[in-house]
Symmetry: C2
Subunit: 339 residues, 2 copies
């Protein structure tokens, strides 16, 4: 059973997950290759993953068989375990609890060679719809306080398998990083009675200098204080705290925005590794007036080093104005193939 432990000074929780240490990945990890060999996420290998939880598949096909376009399975080496109770307890001055949670993998395509931005907008919409389905389902479990949806693409970004997939982790506590964002947004709201992200949209769209792309429902822009070169955020224009409340029209445009933004990043930076993270409201407070769901995309071009670890500051050699201009002016008519 994984264990959640709290640092007594800074309040940071860590997951001590020794089972996960046994997964078949060497430490330090080798570089990713387009492996010609076996991939458990490829069509035809459905029996090599735990049984599927959800899938978009052709009407006549059966679970855990070919015929799907998007498929969700439990992580074979979960950071948290679904069964059990939290069992909060002390260890002298320290606090710990059992590592209860859900850890799922969203396999984005049956095709091993496709990266998210190469999928059709309709296919990306299904990936996002799968996120929504799984979040709505897991929210029924009263033990979970937060559900994080994220993607690691490429080994430098932490992906241990190359086949395009995203992940979801449900946690029994609201993570520190999420709580900080909620607190900051609440402070702004308490002071001004306005959502800080709505204010940001207002300034960014009227300024224009950090805009990467926009459509009727979404704006992609380089944030004012990006941690990393070419960091890009996608915000819905209409205020809403919880991603899972997204409507169908919005979902289709979200897919288009995500696809096009990743395509621009891939063309500009020669298909870099990246992480993206869906920032959304906690399970039990989906209607916050002060919070606004969004996505943060972070290409992995620089390394986090001692200064960043020690301060929480980031040193970024590329201004967001330069990055946005570069991403915005790229021609996406003939997208370059992923190499």
């Amino acid at each position: 059973m994984p264990e959640l432990r709290r640092d007594p000074v800074i309040g940071r929780w860590v997951i001590i997950s020794t089972e996960r240490g046994r997964r078949p990945v060497a430490v330090p990890e080798p570089e990713t290759k387009k492996e010609a060999g076996f991939c458990p996420f490829c069509e035809g290998n459905e029996d090599k993953t735990p049984p599927e939880i959800f899938a978009f598949r052709a009407p006549s096909t059966r679970p855990d068989s070919p015929g799907w376009t998007v498929r969700v399975v439990p992580n074979k080496f979960p950071a948290l375990q679904i069964e059990g109770s939290l069992n909060r307890r002390a260890d002298g001055m320290y606090d710990k609890m059992s590592g209860i949670g859900a850890h799922e993998v969203i396999i984005e395509t049956p095709d091993h060679t496709m990266e998210t931005s190469q999928l059709s907008a309709e296919h990306v919409r299904r990936v996002l719809a799968a996120f929504r389905e799984r979040v709505l389902d897991l929210k029924k479990d009263a033990r979970f306080r937060y559900i994080l949806v994220f993607k690691n693409h490429g080994q430098p970004a932490g992906a241990s398998l190359e086949h395009s997939h995203s992940q979801l982790i449900a946690t029994p506590i609201i993570p520190k990083r999420v709580a900080e964002e909620l607190d900051g947004a609440k402070q702004h709201y308490d002071l001004k009675e306005r959502c800080v992200f709505c204010d940001m949209l207002q300034q960014e769209t009227s300024d224009g200098k950090r805009i990467v792309m926009e459509n009727d429902e979404f704006v992609a822009f380089a944030p004012f204080a990006p941690r990393f070169p070419f960091e890009t955020w996608i915000l819905p224009r209409v205020h809403g705290a919880a991603f899972e409340a997204i409507e169908e029209v919005q979902l289709a445009l979200f897919a288009e925005t995500l696809k096009e933004t990743l395509m621009r990043i891939n063309i500009a930076l020669n298909c870099p590794s990246y992480n993206y993270i869906l920032h959304s409201a906690p399970c039990k407070t989906p209607d916050l007036e002060y919070y606004h769901w969004h996505v943060e995309i972070m290409p992995k071009l620089t390394r986090v080093a001692g200064f960043e670890w020690g301060t929480g500051f980031y040193i970024n050699p590329t201004s967001p104005e330069d990055a946005a201009q570069f991403l915005g002016q790229i021609s996406i008519e003939e997208p370059k193939e992923a190499s």
Copy 2:
């Protein structure tokens, strides 16, 4: 001039340092090699760095010439710039200021092939004495609120030059990560009238199960909630908030502890990349009763991925009890050479 920008939600400051983007390092960075070629930190190449600020050198030798054992120079590609005023200002809803600060490099040895743990304890003591000298000097500058001393060893840990060196950055604001640690320690003190780090020392030394090594003045142990496998902290037994107030006897034992701990990590993990960070009190509050200076060493064996970025949680596949036992039982009689 670099610019400090504040994220309006989470309050995180970033340094937009476009000058630094011009330093001669490709992005993404290539793997470190024992380069046979030119190194600006080697003895004889003193004219290839900015003029030295401080050095331990043989009595008859002149600055910026051979004959030194430890040498401190300004970073040639500084993240922050020493001249100028802060010029705090708004940009619509956003906050920014000029990137004023100091960024220095402590060249730990004239010998390109030596890693910290291979230096003699007396030599390591001089490196630490150089840290103290520079901190005491920079504290005289009223613009600086915090001075961070850290080391990036190996390319995965963010080092752009292989020659053994550490760094120091003085910042005009107290970094978020530091403020969080101070706040957490203060909360514990307000509740219990005891330093949380002193409490930690008490529990760790009486428990013993996470101890890596100890001597009369210092204890090295795996923290209860480590972010990374084999993360190791070094705490002075005697309470003190500011590293720079360290006494001579303590300094020698600190050097021994740091050297031996790094040696154990190098033997156990085959000379991994690592970061270490000196955690010390802010410039203007060196006598805090609730804070306790220390060092946090983080070997780079795992990658930080989307989950960690999104939550501030860390997934650690190695328990600190296992790590401490492994590090503690290693024979350090015949240290393995760095490969």
